[in-house]
Symmetry: C2
Subunit: 208 residues, 2 copies
Amino acid sequence: MRMAELSRESGVAAATIKYYQREGLLPPGELTSPNQARYDATHVRRLKLVRALLEIGGLSVAAVREVLTAIDDPATSTHDVLGLAQHGLPVLKSEVSDEDRAWAMERIEAAAVARDWELFPESPLIEALVSVLCTLREVGHDWVLDALDRYFAAAEEVAEADVGALARRGSTEAIVEGAVVGTVFGDALLATLRRLAHAQASRKRFNA
Amino acid sequence: MRMAELSRESGVAAATIKYYQREGLLPPGELTSPNQARYDATHVRRLKLVRALLEIGGLSVAAVREVLTAIDDPATSTHDVLGLAQHGLPVLKSEVSDEDRAWAMERIEAAAVARDWELFPESPLIEALVSVLCTLREVGHDWVLDALDRYFAAAEEVAEADVGALARRGSTEAIVEGAVVGTVFGDALLATLRRLAHAQASRKRFNA
DNA sequence: CTGAATGGATAGCTCCACTATCCAAAATGA
DNA sequence: TCATTTTGGATAGTGGAGCTATCCATTCAG
């Protein structure tokens, strides 16, 4: 398979494919001569994954590169990848006052204890969580957090399903790639379903 | 309050505030003379909301404008806003083959029936959902969908909490603004918690 | 009265994700 | 064989988004 076919197969313009190669999102084809290369099904697959991460996952090209680097690195362990998979999130480093942080941590810890979670307060995920809570407070909508424990419960529900499904996969590479894909696409899936469920819940409560 | 103070209070550069005004994200101040305006706490609050929608919600300026227009429109009803709140999602219109669509709809309907949801197959939300499922299939990771019913369950869990919390709010405007804010920020909250929960679930399953 | 700040208009900046052009070296088809 | 595509690789250009900077006439503060 050469460039034209790879482009047709994947639905991505040839110039864009070359761009992705330059950016390290797609490995080079196997060179048959100094200026001819051959591609195969793995390139098609990788290309589809890149497009999906960009379009559905909403990742930047740089974020996609990081994610793919982790997938391709044989040293990446299953445990690593679950910690790494936050690369998709806009890592927000908003400055938060000490008292706001304390308020947020109190809320988080209360909900975590109730579900028997063990927290590592200095992890970037906790940072992100604190940011979200404080921002909600800032804009005067901290009532959202009245349901924080149910958010925890829902997150636990899907996470257990995710880890279960992941564990059922075969090789380490399959698990690593699955973790990344599941994390990114699961967000989109969950967000969409939540909106659908809003419609259901509001019908159930007000109309029926 | 004049520009300098509004800027200090909100942490947004004056030039940026002017830009937001031009873009219709922030109402003009009350003119005291042809070229002097006064601002108040509502402007500070709105500004913080704009920043939060941009940074945490990840919305574009155009999307923020739509959302705020809906909030400000007195004609927006509670029911409207829950349908409208999908404005935050990247509305993906990927072309899907008929058989892929059929495959996706089958999965979706099965899960919906199990939870007693009523679907409207031509709604944009269903379209988005079909896109996500088909893309997962395309990239060879449809095993994620083995847990689709648990995603439905989790979505229902949070949606009911959302609608319940919303119903507890007072005025119509409070509900409308709450719906938008809750939808956008809830996504960020849920995504972050899901990653935290991944760590918990993987510890529980493999380490403990 | 004087210097700083303001609202409003306009132009410019940086980054990002592509896209287009060019070239010499294959590949293809007659 | 030999004209015509196609290719990989390099480089430059494009368009949109989200600010940011400059200018100007007016107005405010000391």
